[in-house]
Amino acid sequence: MNRPVGIALEAVRCSAGSQDLLTIDSLTIRQGERVALVGHNGAGKSTLLRLLSGFMTPTQGNVRVFSHDLGQPLPAHELRALRREVGQVMQGLHLVARLSALDNVLIGSLGRVGGWRSWTRCFPADEIHRGEAALHAVGMLARAAIRADRLSGGERQKVAIARLLMQGPGLILADEPTAALDPSAAVDVCGLLREAAATATLITVVHTPALLPLLAERVIGLKQGKIAFDLPIAAVNAEKLANLYRPAGESADRHGPSVPDQHRVTGQEVFS
């Protein structure tokens, strides 16, 4: 583990109103690491990803991604510079529906291509070649001209990964990339994601234990906005996962809105 540090969080707290979404004392992820985030809905996984992609700033604390300090809101140009280095795969709707698969892949080059070419979508020939190569890599070259909204869920996810290859980011954030897929497509997509992340850091949110070994060498379990465990994949077993997913006490998380606020807070204090 002598790779340079890619991501460092220190004394981070994110809250929305009176509710703490995420509290992390310290978290370091080295460059090239493959990390899976697990935990039930509302545990703070997506909050963590949004934090790392600059879609959210922490209420308190330091977040460092590569050379960018995300503790305060970034100026627009630095935010764009960060996002060029951070590739995202989200579940479901994240392609531009009316554009073809190839056009969607070419969006990945917007960080490099500027000016009128990027406004009229007249991308330079070498970028188009690269886009076709990326589609070929995910086995979607034959579907290059098909509009994104006519593709199946698995095909869309593959196009999203081709866009990722096009972007060539140093950090890949994948939020439940297999949520809408059947099991064989999920394995397919995970394999492609892993190839796309050959030289990059990969952080994936997954719910399917079977996919963990494909995607991660390290697993971080989140529970109610806190790190419950942070272990190498070999040390993660069914019991640990079952503990993590077991509802806390009165399942405060699931029934959050209907339970009076002060009750919910005591519940958290008691059970976490």
């Binding site: 992609s53 510079a81 060029r84 995202q88 479901g92 994240h94 531009v96 009316r98 969006i107 979508r121």
Partner: protein, 297 residues
């Protein structure tokens, strides 16, 4: 103590049905009031001999005047009561001239509808941007824009036309402005809906690769919204072709003028010719626009 509890439970179970029954009764009452009062005022008459009138009108309708351009009497003689020939008329040339005028009137109607629709779209777009909820324009501006759109939509084209004829005078300009002002309301509403249905996740994804605002606009917003804009434009344009045929009634020119003439002179044959043109125009534009809209979907 028991009765209110029972009745409230009964209300829970049958409240919806009772409400519907009440509304139905109110509706029937309204219809009875309308019919009854009209009958008492003696306004429900069909005239003195409706059947004969209907047959006569239908007969003349069934022989549209344009047929005379080919089959008309070339030497129609107008005679006075004592049998002297006052003048002779070539029905064929008269009707051919009328057809030429009809063609010009059709072109005027198309011009009014086309330019009016474009004006409405241009006026409606900025107001739509202000009213679209996901763009979060300043509240007072959004309300103002929504108010303008609602007023424009609720005032009929004909009313706009009547007012505008008084301002800019008779002619197509009044028609264009009337169409533009009324359809501005519809455009604003449809455009705002198109903007509101934008897929924000896709936009975030494009923003997520580090694209600047202009790149996000041209790569995610524009390709999504443009086809919907074009589709609504065609839809309202088609609507306005229909609307502008009636604008001649108030002096904006075009087919409506010929309709007024024909009805004022009881020339049902000519009215039938004009209406055939209106139907052909609307149906062909409808087919064309539907095909384009299907291709854009």
């Amino acid at each position: 103590m028991l009765v209110p509890a029972l009745s409230s439970r009964a209300l829970d179970r049958f409240g919806g049905r009772l409400g519907f029954l009440g509304l139905t009764l109110l509706y029937l009452l309204l219809i009875a009031a309308c019919l009854g009062s009209l009958a008492r005022e003696g306004e429900l008459s069909f005239g003195r001999n409706p059947v004969a009138n209907l047959l006569k009108t239908a007969g003349e309708f069934a022989r549209p005047s344009f047929l005379d351009a080919w089959f008309g009497n070339p030497h129609l003689e107008y005679r006075s009561d004592d049998g002297t020939v006052l003048r002779t008329e070539n029905r064929q040339t008269v009707e051919r001239d009328y057809l030429a005028g009809l063609g010009r009137a059709t072109w005027t109607t198309i011009r009014i509808a086309t330019l009016g629709s474009l004006l409405g779209a241009l006026l409606g777009l900025p107001l739509a941007v202000l009213t679209a909820r996901n763009l979060a324009a300043p509240r007072p501006l959004a309300w103002l824009a929504k108010g303008v759109l609602d007023v424009a939509r609720s005032i009929h084209t004909l009313v706009f036309g009547l007012v505008l004829v008084g301002i800019v005078g008779l002619g197509p300009t009044a028609g264009i402005l009337a169409i533009g002002l009324h359809s501005m309301g519809s455009y604003g509403k449809l455009f705002a809906e198109a903007i509101e249905s934008l897929d924000m996740a896709a936009i975030d994804a494009v923003r997520g690769v580090g694209a600047g605002p202009a790149q996000v606009f041209f790569n995610a917003v524009w390709p999504t919204v443009l086809p919907q804009f074009v589709s609504s434009h065609l839809y309202i344009w088609e609507f306005n072709i229909r609307d502008s045929t009636i604008l001649g009634l108030i002096g904006a020119g075009g087919l409506g003028l010929l309709i007024t003439e024909a009805t004022a002179l009881f020339q049902w044959g000519r009215l039938s010719t004009v209406l055939l043109v209106v139907v052909a125009l609307v149906v062909s534009f409808d087919a064309l626009s539907r095909r384009i809209r299907a291709a854009l979907a």
